[in-house]
């Protein structure tokens, strides 16, 4: 009993002396030091290395890569990936989010939400493999495609399918919570006032979810431009034809063209920086945090 009383009195006694505060400060700076060390080793030093290697030889040498035909083709193809997959997944993401956000109790709702997350947990290589098994020469649709003289695997359509697969969930994931938070009263009001479905969507729903949508587009774009594994499986990595920038990086590195590899890596890292700055600005604007 006595010891218990002592224990209760302990904090106030301690508060009188400065030792807990020094202790807390030690813990604080110790933890901050640990975080900085860990992040430096795993992330910050490797990231700094990309820029050091890409721009270390001077801006001229970095720009030299831009006259390389294979690089230019790869850059063009990377843009095509984003230009096709981002709008497609945006339309899908909006309609899926709307379906899930505005219909709380339809059969299979939980299944649908889980299904949308599937590309996050499937290995990109397995995603590519599945496309090969569908559209490849020995795949389900292989014979039909060959008869129609259509090539999907080792060609652009396969690469687009692979990229759309891995970047599928982002818009739906980011828009759904915003829609749920918004509630359906504004839409009900618009309809009561005589707006039709399209008008309601364009004038009420879309403006309300624009930041969430933008956030989703940003993540979709980053993934679409940066995807490696899934695209590598279906592309065949034909230089100048089916090679995107990430594939160019690996190929150049394997051929000991380290400078080219790092110039392309520098471009992709620049894209990552733009993505992160835009993400931070969006988060500051909407007062929310990442995933």
């Amino acid at each position: 009993m006595n010891s218990k009383v002592n224990k209760y009195q302990n904090p106030s006694q301690n508060a009188a002396s400065s030792s807990p505060q020094t202790h807390a400060r030690l813990v604080k700076w110790g933890l901050i030091g640990f975080v900085l060390l860990y992040l430096s080793l795993v992330m910050l030093i490797p990231a700094a290395n990309v820029f050091a290697q890409a721009f270390g030889g001077g801006i001229d040498r970095f720009l030299q890569t831009f006259s390389d035909r294979a690089f230019l083709n790869a850059a063009k193809l990377t843009l095509v990936m984003a230009l096709v997959c981002v709008p497609v997944n945006a339309v899908f993401g909006l309609s899926a989010a709307w379906l899930l956000g505005r219909n709380k109790r339809f059969p299979g709702r939980a299944f649908l939400i889980t299904l949308i997350d599937l590309p996050f947990s499937i290995s990109p290589v397995v995603a590519g493999l599945m496309l090969v098994l569908l559209y490849g020469r020995n795949g389900w649709f292989g014979a039909a495609l060959a008869a129609g003289n259509l090539q999907i695997i080792f060609a652009l359509p396969g690469m687009l399918l692979a990229t759309a697969f891995v970047s599928l969930p982002f818009v739906a994931r980011e828009v759904l919570p915003v829609l749920e938070e918004m509630g359906d009263e504004p839409e009900e009001a618009a309809r009561t006032l005589g707006a039709n479905d399209w008008q309601t969507f364009w004038r009420v729903t879309l403006p309300s979810v624009r930041w969430g949508l933008l956030y989703g587009l940003l993540l979709t774009n980053a993934r679409a431009m940066g995807e490696f594994g899934a695209v590598a499986v279906v592309s065949g990595n034909i230089v100048g034809k089916t090679q995107t920038l990430p594939l160019f990086v690996e190929e150049a590195y394997k051929q000991y063209k380290t400078e080219s590899a790092y110039s392309a890596a520098g471009v992709l890292a620049g894209l990552a920086v733009v993505t992160m700055v835009a993400k931070a600005l969006l988060e500051a604007k909407t007062g929310r945090r990442g995933h």
Partner: protein
Amino acid sequence: MTQISVARSQRFKLPSIPLALTTLYLSLMLLLPVTALLLKALTLSPAKIWEIATSPMALSSYNVTFATALAAGLINGLAGLVIAWVLVRYEFPLKRILDALIDLPFALPTAVAGLTLATVYSDNGWIGSWLAPFGIKIAFTRWGVFLAMLFISLPFVVRTVQPVLLEAEREMEEAAWSLGASPWQTFWRVVLPPIFPATLTGVALGFARAVGEYGSVVIVSANIPFQDLIAPVLIFQRLEQYDYAGATVIGAVMLLISLVMLLVINFLQAWGQRYEQ
């Protein structure tokens, strides 16, 4: 009550375009490929499936993939907890920039990550050259695989724990503290329980991501069978050798494991939400 349910059922009929679009796209993009992989695997005889799925090289690649991914997930579970804590509870210079930088592994293409990790941790790289005199090799060994997985799964725990920690009521900690709990007791009994489900979710998400990772690992490892060859790279190699049966069976094993992981993550998230209420 009946009015509400009538309104609901009416609204249910409306979204014909979103419903059609969503189901069509998901069927074509997700259900069809998944079904194709599983059915293709099942065209082989059970004995053959078992033989391929449990061949020594496949077993060793599962071991490298899952054991390394688990280690990376757990280390990032601890480190992520500390990072989230530091970012939420302390003020220090450049904190906001550091916070934004946590998302780097989401934004940086994995091929770039692999390239730079391979350079920095090779024998003459910025960090590797410090380790080389001690005989420690990271790049092109299993440690390289571990490092790449550490990089790729780093943001998950931080980003799942951060919001929960922000919402946690500090009065509870102060109450525990003023009632005589030691800092450790406060941490274990008051701080940890509400953030534990979020931590586990983050670990599971990071583990799932690390298990499937290809781009960074294929560059930073030597891809030698029985040493540092991961399952996704093995599938890729099988495909390159036109061994479709081999690729399909090992791919199906990986797919089934990702489906299980997805269920585990869903369960953990549901658990975390129940905790909040």
